[in-house]
């Protein structure tokens, strides 16, 4: 149980770090959002479940479950709001769809 928790914590720290690099290095807003959502979902799940295994059955576990559920509910919501606000303001995605590629040829 202890080993599993350390494995989860290490993987969580790694994915948080990778998402941070991605959010800094990606070329435009939507790809950066993709990198940031890795840290928001995968990193948060791995780190919080890893801590939960360390805490055992206690009040701390219930608080951690509440934090995890809240993060899982809110981070997609704010990502969606951010993407729709950026699209409304006229930020175009970096990649072209196949139709746009045909048109520009």
């Amino acid at each position: 149980m202890d080993t599993l928790s350390w494995v989860l914590l290490t993987l969580g720290g790694f994915s948080v770090f990778v998402g941070g690099i991605g959010a800094l290095r990606m070329p435009d807003l939507y790809t950066r959002m993709h990198a940031a959502s890795v840290t928001d979902s995968l990193g948060a799940i791995l780190v919080l479940v890893g801590i939960m295994l360390q805490a055992g059955w206690s009040l701390a576990t219930i608080k951690l479950i509440a934090i995890l559920l809240f993060l899982l509910l809110t981070s997609p919501t704010s990502s969606n709001a951010l993407a729709s606000a950026a699209l409304l303001a006229g930020t175009r995605p970096f990649a072209e769809t196949p139709q746009e590629q045909e048109k520009s040829k």
């Binding site: 350390w6 914590l9 290490t10 969580g12 720290g13 790694f14 948080v16 770090f17 998402g19 941070g20 690099i21 959010a23 800094l24 807003l29 950066r32 959002m33 940031a36 840290t39 928001d40 990193g43 948060a44 780190v47 919080l48 890893g50 801590i51 360390q54 805490a55 206690s58 009040l59 701390a60 608080k63 951690l64 509440a66 934090i67 809240f70 993060l71 809110t74 981070s75 919501t77 704010s78 709001a81 951010l82 729709s84 606000a85 950026a86 409304l88 303001a89 006229g90 930020t91």
Partner: protein, 93 residues
């Protein structure tokens, strides 16, 4: 091992702050600040167990709530500004 996660989270927070300073558009900055808030929640939860003080979890929960409401409020502000600008552009033409 808690130290490794703490350091990874702190480095990621520094990267997110760098993106918030560099970010070409407003939305990049909002994205970076949102990410910084989520990393703060993770950092507070890890620190609660690093120092053996579980009351830090309450702070993490409160911070998650404040972060979400704050990001939505800022986005709503920028969205209404973008709508107003496009309406003005339409009225001028």
């Amino acid at each position: 091992m808690y130290y490794a996660v703490t350091i990874a989270t702190l480095v990621t927070m520094a990267l997110a702050l760098l993106r918030a300073v560099l970010g070409p558009s407003v939305y990049d900055r909002v994205l970076a600040v949102n990410m910084l808030g989520t990393k703060t929640v993770l950092l507070l939860s890890v620190i609660a167990f690093l120092y053996g003080r579980p009351d830090f979890l309450d702070l993490a929960l409160a911070y998650a709530l404040i972060n979400f409401i704050g990001v939505l409020a800022v986005l709503e502000f920028f969205r209404s500004r973008a709508l107003r600008r496009s309406a003005e552009r339409g009225a001028r033409q």
